[in-house]
Point group: C2
Chain length 337, copies 2
DNA sequence: GTGAAAGCGCTAACAG
DNA sequence: CTGTTAGCGCTTTCAC
């Protein structure tokens, strides 16, 4: 039973002054006498008056809410990004509304509707793996609500984004494997239509070529989660196709791979090196601990929020593409240089 | 530059009818003629009219927003809970606003203010570790905004909550260790003022007693994260105090413990058994995989949302304490029965 | 069957 | 220095 929250009118009535005077007093308008201000503030305090954000929103046509769409909240990388967004948003007086698409295009569409209806001031989005049609995003942009994409972006749509240089990071990781003596490498890759996956794949391929190792498509396997990494490793073992180094598209896949290798009593990194991508918590927990690419989700989120809020408040129209630096984190699943 | 979103007035003007007619037509009010309805709906569609949720909120005094406060978003358990909340909320037409307290009481207070100002219809909260004063929550409850607590609850405050039977779960886990032959057990515990921690501790203690093993306070060590678990294990090793079984207050602590034991070449579970708590992703990734207590955060979140939404919509006043069942997940860090 | 008017809580332009 | 009025977008009596 929602009891009546104190409003500006209540205060006005009690003090026998007008609502606008109360409003002005509360925000230290220079016109108001000090006595009145004091009177009002004291009562407001006593009554625990809280401005009604909804009324303010309606009036100003600003909700001070940032809408977020991620594929999954329960995913270390995404929750890190969210955390970064929340941090800056809270600082700047924005709330965040979070929705998840569960990798379903339909749900993603629903989320867009919901957020649009909720009149968010802007959105931060990482799209589903297989979204191919980006009209819903275009429509939102057309209404004037800014969107900043991160990590998974949309091709053919001019918009702000925060990404990492997936190509370079993959290139560097692969080259590290080569420099530490691997000659027979495989890549466990994500879906091809995801730019981040294909870029990592090309980084892998080019690192081989430039280091005078031959590359062919058979070095690319599709595996982008724990169980796929696990199963694929077993399969390669059975077919006698295990390499001496594996670069995986993310940490979970690497963890699955390591888990299988452990069971198969194959020594890491002596017999096989494994290189992950993301640097989530799990990379410290695997045995051996995982060498990986630091992706800095927190900073991605923080930067995305920064760009978005700037766009909201200054109504600039320049398109920004921010690249968050990555670095290799060398642990014990690879040999030392 | 937020361009003008289509409103009911725009439609009214174009069709040369009144706003109220449009409003009624849109919601299939029986009074309105079919032609008018069709006309209105068609145009609304064409113009991509979206009702302004903010205006609706102001009017109905319902925001259809659920406010969430968690210590940290980046924490597998909490993100799982959030995911459960989001799922039901989305189903029932609610949005969720997420705030994190970072285990800071001050931030928690701020969050309460923000959410209250945002006129959320209700809140779902897991408090910080060291909050001792719960007045801010009491104040919110007094305004008529319902709160459902989960996992970490507040003593001395009558409110809805969703918890697990921490005592029983800990008792069962400890008993399992005893039954598989452990005679010399330790518990790595969390802060005493957290009910969930102390309950787990008592479950541990009572399991020992009831199984004719002596218990004393020296079996309890304070360690509730990866590095504390890791360091404590090394310390015990140095002092020759390693037991034959360890029950930890959560998975991360167990992971730290396992990591140290691996480095020390101590065989798990042959020499030492390790039992965790939570069943997060990491429990499958540790080596060996971790026996743990399934805490079902998703269901906790889902149930909390269920209770809260019911309270919001039906304005019931009964206080509900829901206990989510736990179960032991036996993997390879403990011996078999 | 439809329109006019009031009001949700607040602010801002306009008076005085 | 303070009050009155109008309006943000929408719903809901009350008229006709």
């Amino acid at each position: 039973m929602k009891s009546h929250q104190v409003t500006i009118k209540d205060i006005a009535k009690i003090l026998d002054i007008s609502a606008s005077t109360v409003s002005r007093a509360l925000k230290d308008h220079p016109d108001i006498s000090i006595e009145t201000k004091n009177k009002v503030k004291k009562l407001a305090d006593k009554l625990k008056y809280k401005p009604n954000a909804i009324a303010l929103s309606l009036q100003s046509n600003k909700s001070h809410i940032i809408g977020i769409i991620v594929p999954q909240i329960v995913h270390h990388f995404f929750s890190t990004v969210i955390s970064g967004i929340e941090e800056l948003a809270a600082d700047k007086g924005y709330n965040i509304i979070i929705t998840q698409s569960n990798e379903s295009q339909k749900k993603e569409l629903d989320n867009c509707q919901t957020l649009l209806s909720g009149r968010v001031d802007g959105m931060i989005v990482s799209r589903t793996k297989d979204t191919e049609n980006f009209d819903h995003f275009r429509n939102i942009l057309n209404t004037g609500t800014p969107i900043v994409f991160f990590d998974r972006t949309c091709h053919g749509i001019k918009t702000d984004k925060v990404i990492i240089d997936d190509y370079k990071a993959a290139y560097d990781a692969t080259e590290y494997l080569i420099k530490t003596g691997c000659k027979n490498l495989l890549h466990f890759a994500g879906p091809k239509n995801l730019k981040i996956s294909s870029k990592r794949m090309w980084g892998f391929a080019d690192a081989l070529k430039r280091n005078n190792l031959s590359f062919n498509e058979e070095m690319i396997y599709s595996a982008d989660n724990f169980s796929k990494g696990y199963n694929l490793t077993y399969e390669l073992y059975k077919n006698n196709h295990l390499p001496d180094g594996i670069f995986t598209v993310n940490d979970m896949t690497a963890a699955g791979t390591l888990s299988a290798l452990n069971e198969l009593k194959i020594k890491v990194p002596e017999e096989i090196s494994v290189f992950g991508f993301t640097n989530g918590i799990i990379s410290q927990i695997t045995s051996p601990s995982l060498s990986t690419v630091e992706q800095n989700g927190y900073l991605m989120g923080y930067s995305a929020a920064e760009i978005l809020i700037n766009k909201i408040e200054n109504e600039t129209t320049d398109i920004i593409s921010k690249i968050i630096p990555t670095k290799l984190i060398i642990r014990n699943s690879t040999k030392k240089l």
